[in-house]
Subunit: 429 residues, 2 copies
């Protein structure tokens, strides 16, 4: 069957449906238990950083460059050398960075909590003081970003993703027309799940956005995949803070990153970056809730990774592990679905996900078929605010954790489920 | 001068004032720079746990007892073995414990934030829904506990500390008469700064408190010094959760602890414990803001400390370092101030502080004299809500960080400042 869906006769469709049902039945009987839900590194990726712990740390000493004893309290902003690493990673100055604990998600939550409850620019700027607070969410996007907003009762407004990033016409018009819009989520490089890297023009328009928006508007820029390239000539992301500086909108930008997918998932270090105004009000909240981050872990990291060059060298080892997996996903999708009109998918050059768009109305059905055959996929709708994909179409595939054999099996199941769901819909339609 | 202050003649007072001024002048000229402000472990205490990092962790493997790869995401409640250690430490069941990150202060903030913003028992129980939220604060107490409440706009009500813990008559009457009182801070063992360990009767009455209070009342029990004994026959704290269970008030108790003063300050692991109802609503908040704690650090800790016996063995090494310091403080205070009626002080058998009560109105003056002579003390009022000590009397001494020589010098300065301030007040009074 290489003809597109539209060209098949009813008989051809029926035959195809029967064949697919047989194949699917065999998968079900095989008792698979595969999981493509979350962007988790695989054990072989994690082993790349095991030397974090095998150095003789006591012999090397626990004292940072400025004499800080990392084993003791203090240092709300994190170690100077960790802040310097974060600055390189995010393209800002070290004094614009706070190096934190094991989770950039926590920094994002706390930043938004602070902005909503107390105000991003101090007294009088609290978002909750208004009637409604709205936030622009490029879709499909990252479920945990949406969960924070939902938790705080901030209304989410969908914005369409394009190949260049969020639809900036739509963003600018919403920001201009609706003063209750207080922010925008961004994953500017290898966007989750679509894999897009924002174009230079998008970055330039993000820099200008603060001139249109009110003074308490914030771009929440989660640069989670800043150095997570799969090939050697990766797409270049323009410096977003520089774009903001050029327009005097530095206060409108908050940047986040972590080493969770560089060294250890959930056991690395995190970064938040912003203008002195931004960090100042945020720091006053941090001061209430912690004596400081785990500086021993920060020291381990800077000794292991050294600087951005060290990070890039380390990331090439990840790429060597990940490339065959991403290639396999593309191969299986192409072999099974090319030219059939049953869906389209991203071919990312980095990051952790492949985004698949089924025909409208079929994502939930495909995911449920896959689950019944032992392949767990991210729940339908998860990539949309409130878990509601208006087209019931987007499916996020996370190929990093399984080994190649499992991934191969999972993709064979997935592509059969796509076809089966599509043909079944067509037959009953 | 061994006579008490009241028995000195005006001439004797004048002579004494001149002598004290001379001594104080010499201290000022010496250009000291000593710090008795915060309860920080000393470098020799921190070195006790350096083996946390010198084991060949990669050879030992990063896999927890249940097969969890500690280097990867997941496990919101923390490692099973870390929860078991926390359960022993806090006297509860492992399923009543969440093992967290590097800071129990963060867990306390998040618990209170959750209770205030969303409710300690889910929808409808949010403290902020009422007109006012009040909290009982035994004084003197811990400034960072008070800072969290102030941050959330929760009104603080002072409760007097006694040798047995908070004045429970006062606590019970406030809880009975004022439904806006939603909680009580406790440091039940070696209370900060007074050093009291709550008596069995106090613990029993804490267990009953939930029967007087409303269903959304919480005892915030920061057992920061659970195993921080200075001598071998330490005072015993009754099990508070058992007392609550006996009265069916389990939901009213939240317990906190950390290894910050066991292994590394700000680079250890933390614990929060409570009933399933309590942890359930709190967990839903945690889920929004983190993928889980740093499990590698948790694994390091349980391998290093093993269990409560291991912790106690480790704490005996701390005691050997700390005892001479606490003894020195007592000796210098006794030598200089015994029988003079110029103040009284605690003689704690554990914990991190000595609490000194000067004559009313003199704490600020003593602290400022000491600062001018190069000895930094915790700011006056810090041990009271809003930084306001109504008697301007309490001074918290933190003797753990300085070495014996520095501590000796600092105590000599301190005792002269106490006498100088007292005599000067008397002369001008």
């Amino acid at each position: 069957m290489t003809a597109t869906l539209e060209r098949l006769t009813q008989d051809e469709l029926t035959t195809l449906g029967r064949e697919l049902n047989d194949t699917y039945g065999q998968f079900r009987e095989a008792g698979l238990a595969l999981d493509l839900t979350r962007g988790k590194p695989s054990p072989s990726q994690l082993a790349l950083a095991d030397r974090l712990d095998t150095g003789d740390a006591a012999a090397d000493g626990f004292i940072a460059a400025d004499g800080t004893d990392t084993r003791n309290y203090g240092g709300l902003d994190g170690l100077a050398e960790a802040r310097a690493l974060g600055a390189e990673l995010l393209g800002v100055r070290p004094d614009e960075v706070i190096a934190g604990g094991n989770s950039s998600l926590t920094l994002m939550y706390l930043y938004l909590l602070n902005a909503w409850l107390y105000g991003p620019a101090g007294p009088g700027s609290a978002w909750r003081n208004g009637q409604t607070t709205r936030f622009l969410c490029p879709v499909p996007g990252y479920d945990r970003h949406f969960a924070i907003l939902e938790d705080l009762g901030i209304e989410m407004v969908n914005v369409q993703m394009t190949a260049d990033g969020p639809d900036m016409d739509q963003v600018e018009s919403l920001v201009r027309d609706d003063p209750t819009v207080k922010g925008l989520w961004c994953v500017p490089k290898y966007s989750n799940p679509g894999g897009q890297t924002y174009s230079d023009s998008t970055v330039e328009r993000l820099g200008q956005l603060g001139t249109i928006a009110g003074p308490h508007f914030r771009i929440m820029c989660d640069n989670a995949y800043a150095v997570h390239d799969l090939d050697d000539a990766p797409p270049q992301l323009d410096n977003i803070m520089d774009a903001c500086r050029a327009h005097g909108t530095d206060d409108s930008l908050v940047l986040f990153a972590s080493t969770s997918k560089v060294t250890r998932a959930g056991a690395g270090i995190s970064f938040v970056a912003g203008s002195p105004v931004n960090l100042g009000t945020f720091r006053s909240r941090l001061q209430t809730l912690t004596i400081g981050p785990d500086k021993v872990t920060q020291l381990r990291h800077v000794r292991f990774l050294r600087d951005l060059d060290g990070v890039r060298a380390h990331m090439r080892k990840h790429a060597a592990i990940l490339r065959p997996k991403f290639d396999l996903v593309q191969r299986r999708l192409s072999e099974a679905l090319d030219g059939k009109g049953m869906g389209c998918w991203s071919a990312p050059r980095g990051g952790y996900f492949v985004s698949f768009d089924a025909l409208p109305g079929l994502a939930g059905r495909i995911i449920s078929l896959a689950e019944d055959a032992g392949v767990k996929l991210t729940p339908a709708g998860a990539t949309f605010p409130y878990g509601r994909d208006p087209d019931d179409s987007n499916i996020r595939l996370a190929p990093t954790f399984p080994d190649l054999g499992d991934l191969d099996q999972a993709m064979r199941v997935f592509t059969v489920c796509v076809q089966l769901a599509t043909v079944t819909q067509r037959l009953s339609g």
